[in-house]
Symmetry: C2
Subunit: 202 residues, 2 copies
């Protein structure tokens, strides 16, 4: 039985997933975040080891060969992947790790790990999603439409997830994610030692 | 797929289960409580329909014959049982119902219902349990010992439950039970309609 828990969190552009996770990590700093390995060049403002590990194409391919990635994909010539090491460490040693990944990545991780808990962050309505995606004001109508379609495709697969958290009010959505994590800690499989602790002194 | 959730709550004498549940119902008055059907005489202070429905032996046996009890037992000549009707109503119409029952009753209910969520309320230690059981001061040493043994037998079966809630501090234990209930409401199986609601307007 695994000691720790792996949480997969997905949500389309416009779901507010990043803001929610930021607040969850502030409230529960003990939770680990899965840092993606990527091969594209670092962009201004990005910091090595914060959200990404910037590694070479050769290093990435070596990790693939050794089955050290839980999921990966290639996008305009660059690799993006979730390294297995930090996840295995949590499973063995306890605690929780959150992997932020898209619906395809989530499906691939579920194939490799028998026990995951997955959360889909959902906009409250079609209209709100459209407003959020067009509200940035920097995109062409065509780009908004494209992102809208991608978002709807992801939402159509929300039923692959264990939980749906609707991001209508930010604070409520943050509380909901925290509830799911606290609930995990109450599961018998993570607390079996308690039974023997109480009985052990009979 | 069931719309509502059935929560089974067990815990030995001295676990503080009754106090915890009282506070959970105060905080979440929308949650239903499964009223046991019993055939013993009403005692002073008891109110029909509060914790028990006092019914005749004939009525009870008729319910058994019609498979209208989720579990039952006989104790010094009286029947005690969990009627099926209110539970089925929650499963069909939504919401939650809490069934307070011992470990044998819980095991029997799990055989009849495919989807239950069960919580075992646990004292924090052997010593605290012993203090709580002897602390009432009204019982003989022999009675305390008997209740202690019964409690330990129940604790040894805590691993049959989905969750363990340790009652060390009352408020924390109440929060834990509330977390488990709120978590249920976030499950995809209870929120699938949301997916179509957002997609429906495409």
């Amino acid at each position: 039985m695994n000691k720790g828990s792996v949480l997969i969190v997905s949500g389309p552009s416009g779901s507010g997933k990043d803001t929610i996770l930021k607040k969850v990590f502030e409230a529960m700093p003990e939770i680990k975040f899965s840092i993606s390995s990527i091969t594209r060049a670092m962009r201004p403002g990005e910091v090595e080891g914060e959200k990404y590990n910037f590694i070479s194409r050769e290093a990435f391919e070596e990790m693939l060969k050794r089955d050290m990635m839980l999921e990966h994909n290639e996008f305009v010539g660059n690799y993006y992947g979730t390294p297995r090491g930090p996840v295995d460490s949590v499973l063995e040693n306890g605690g929780e790790i959150i992997i932020e990944v898209d619906v395809n990545g989530a499906a691939n991780i579920r194939k490799k790990l028998s026990e995951t808990v997955s959360i889909f962050i959902m906009p409250p309505s079609f209209e709100v999603l459209k407003n959020r995606l067009s509200g940035r004001g920097t995109d062409s109508a065509e780009n908004v439409e494209k992102r809208m379609n991608e978002a709807l495709c992801e939402i159509a697969r929300a039923d692959e997830y264990d939980y749906i958290v609707v991001n209508d009010e930010l604070d409520k959505a943050v509380d909901d994610v925290i509830t799911i994590i606290k609930n995990l800690r109450l599961k018998t499989e993570r607390q079996k030692y308690l039974i023997n602790e109480v009985l052990g002194k009979c």
